[in-house]
């Protein structure tokens, strides 16, 4: 029987989970530990069409073998082109998708070992997700105050109605709305205001781990700064751990301790933010950084990432980046690169391993 399951059924004394947590703390184990995570979607036509038309079975490997750790109280960011699998990783990490392979451990607990709702609930409270699409995640028929109070009520964190109200008011203020906004319905808010409601709801259950999928991209830069500063303050005060997904590399640069760059379902480069942004090594990371729009129009030409995004159902052989890579050679087309560690940065690239590609320090962006 899995240890966490035993923890839930165990009555008095120290539960297995508590023990697991303590050992985790003692050994400074990461709060989140992802190993060989994969998630495949079956995108074949229905069985009947396949039989009649002879259409093949199609598997889309949205996430294909990803490993990373997030230490307690730190922020790990995932970046990469649209469709590379970031949201799918997020959904696996919070348990919304069951991985096709690999493990996700949160605070030492293997997510796959939790089977029943009763086992999952205690962990659920400790993690929250802010979704990429705030519209879809807010119940249109509920008042905003009820939406924010829902996790508090569901997890029975507070029972006194006055206390709940005060907490909701506090949360509304923290995200830059007002307590009076609580009586409104989601459709009465602008896009950015709705995103703030979903952030307030995510914070309501005092989670220890927050998965934020594009949390601020619907917000103007000033409100974005307010929210990110709030998230940083909470992290400092309460030791929160974050998995951040953002296409805004400047946000990632200022907010994340570590960054993982994804390409077609795999991590191609990951490591400490400043080291990675300061001297990107992987050819894809370099392209990504060069594609950042330039506010000052200082003459640094914005280089769009060259080449077509490949079809994830039928990815290129070897290193999947090879059709777009200026350094690709025969080996790249043949063999998928292993992950190696260079100066603390994890990389998957033959060119770097062979010493054909050196790190280049980037000038001021």
């Amino acid at each position: 029987m899995p240890e966490a399951a035993a923890a839930e059924s165990g009555g008095g004394g120290k539960t297995a989970r508590e023990t697991a947590r303590e050992t985790a703390r003692e050994t400074d184990a990461p709060f989140v530990s992802v190993r060989g995570l994969a998630h495949y979607f079956d995108v074949s036509k229905p069985w009947l069409n396949r039989t009649l038309e002879g259409a093949p079975r199609l598997i889309l490997k949205a996430v294909d073998g990803i490993s990373f750790d997030i230490p307690r109280g730190k922020t790990f960011a995932l970046v990469g082109e649209s469709g590379c699998g970031k949201s799918t990783v997020a959904r696996c990490v919070v348990g919304l998708y069951r991985p096709s392979a690999g493990t996700v451990r949160l605070d030492g607990i293997d997510m796959a070992s939790l089977k029943s709702r009763r086992e999952i609930m205690p962990l659920r409270r400790r993690l929250q997700m802010i979704f990429q699409d705030p519209y879809a995640s807010l119940n249109p028929r509920w008042r905003v105050s009820a939406i924010i109070a829902e996790p508090i009520v569901a997890h029975r964190l507070m029972t006194d109605r006055k206390a709940i109200r005060a907490r909701v008011d506090e949360l509304l203020r923290q995200v830059g709305l007002t307590p009076e906004d609580g009586v409104k319905y989601p459709h009465e808010f602008s896009g950015g205001q709705r995103q703030r409601v979903s952030i307030a709801r995510a914070l309501a259950s005092n989670p220890e781990f927050l998965v934020c999928d594009e949390p601020t991209s619907a917000l103007d830069v000033s409100v974005q700064a307010q929210i990110l500063n709030l998230m940083k303050d909470l992290q400092k005060e309460l030791g929160l751990t974050y998995l951040l997904i953002s296409h805004d590399l400047a946000v990632v640069y200022n907010f994340a301790d570590e960054v993982g760059v994804m390409y077609l379902g795999r991590l191609v480069e990951s490591g400490a933010t400043e080291a990675l942004f300061g001297a990107p090594r992987h050819p894809y990371t370099r392209m990504l950084l060069d594609a950042i729009p330039d506010l000052e129009m200082s003459g640094r030409a914005r280089v769009p990432v060259a080449g077509e995004v490949p079809d994830p159902i039928d990815p290129p052989s070897g290193c999947t980046f090879h059709p777009r890579c200026p350094h690709a050679d025969a080996r790249c087309r043949r063999e998928a690169p292993e992950t190696i560690t260079v100066d603390g940065i994890r990389l998957a690239c033959h060119g770097i391993e062979e010493g054909r590609i050196a790190a280049v320090a980037r000038g001021k962006a």
């Binding site: 979607f41 082109e81 949201s87 879809a136 594009e214 296409h247 990504l288 950042i292 962006a365």
Partner: protein, 328 residues
């Protein structure tokens, strides 16, 4: 000079609510020329989307245009019937909404939605329409467009759905495109592609674009002029490089200062302190005065109109010439 393709004069939009009438847009005027891209930025909740919705006639009731006039190509469009407006919306105005999911029908494949939209706007065979639909998907950068033609919206990532919405808006070769956060869910490389597409449309087809976005980088690269909104009004409007490099209105100055950059990591991002007032509770005088580091007595009493400064205009008393003259 030729008349602008779109002109908005003294627009006022109201929402009757439980707590009295909320004025979401108050006395706002601007225009967009043929082939011009107007960027619209501003505080979340300032009224950018509502302005766009008013132009395409899709304000959600009880919201209503309570004043002003909107002209498109010389035709007044703010007082048309629903049916008349529906025709204009498809043919002359293409809309890309902030929320990609509501613009897509979850029950139909991406391909079918494109084909149907193309067929409602132009007469051609189904096979031609299908070909055009695939072309559009390629133009907005959907990989393996042909193969993913029969996918359902939920099988696409957030950014891919957003690109499908953009493709839908382009189906009828509209004269005006209203793009509300078209690149928000997109990474920088796809963003670059979409921007290049919008630019080509405006340069080569003379399409006018109203581009609402929070991303100043996108604005810097795409827009000819930029309008900055705050609490339902224009705070500033002017040529894009001037507004970015020499912002006039203290709100714009704060906004530019809040943009995070790569190169010098900072512990706390710079933010404008305080929050935008609730629209039912706008302070007298300048709406920005409680948060403005430069506010003075007049700001708390009198509301500033747009005042020309350099080649921009700013709604701020700091630029009132009379005051300078009086001081001299």
């Amino acid at each position: 000079m030729a008349q602008p393709l779109l002109s908005v004069e003294n627009l006022r939009v109201e929402f009757p609510t439980r707590h009295g009438t909320l004025v979401a847009i108050d006395d706002t005027s601007f225009h967009i020329d043929e082939g011009e891209i107007l960027g619209v930025v501003g505080e979340s909740g300032a009224g950018k989307s509502i302005t766009g919705m008013s132009i395409i006639g899709l304000l959600d009731p009880p919201g209503r245009i309570a004043g002003g006039r909107i002209h498109l190509d010389g035709q007044r469009i703010d007082n048309l019937s629903y049916e008349q407006m529906r025709r204009i919306r498809g043919k002359k105005i293409g809309a890309i909404f902030q929320d990609p999911l509501t613009s897509l029908n979850p029950l139909y494949t991406i391909g079918r939605q494109l084909v149907e939209t193309i067929l409602t706007h132009s007469e051609m065979s189904r096979a031609r329409a299908r070909k055009r639909a695939v072309e559009l998907l390629v133009e907005v950068g959907i990989p393996a467009a042909e193969r993913r033609f029969d996918s359902y919206p939920h099988q696409f990532s957030g950014g891919m759905r957003q690109r499908v919405v953009i493709a839908l808006a382009l189906c009828a070769n509209p004269r005006l495109i209203i793009a509300d956060e078209p690149t928000t869910a997109l990474d920088v490389s796809v963003q670059a592609q979409i921007i290049a597409l919008l630019k080509t449309l405006s340069r080569e087809h003379g399409t006018a674009v109203m581009l609402v976005t929070h991303d100043m980088g996108v604005i810097a690269e795409t827009a000819d002029r930029v309008a900055v909104m705050y609490a339902g009004r224009l705070a500033e409007i002017g040529p894009v490089q001037e507004v970015i490099q020499r912002p006039k209105h203290p709100y714009t100055v704060g906004l530019m200062g809040s943009i995070p950059t790569i190169g010098h990591r900072i512990e706390r991002l710079i933010q404008i302190e305080g929050a935008m007032p609730r629209l039912t509770d706008i302070p007298t005088g300048c709406a920005f005065n409680p948060r403005c580091p430069k506010a003075f007595d007049r700001c708390r009493v009198e509301r500033p109109e747009l005042i020309p400064v350099e080649t921009s205009e700013a709604a701020c008393w700091l630029y009132d010439r009379e005051r300078e003259v009086a001081r001299a």
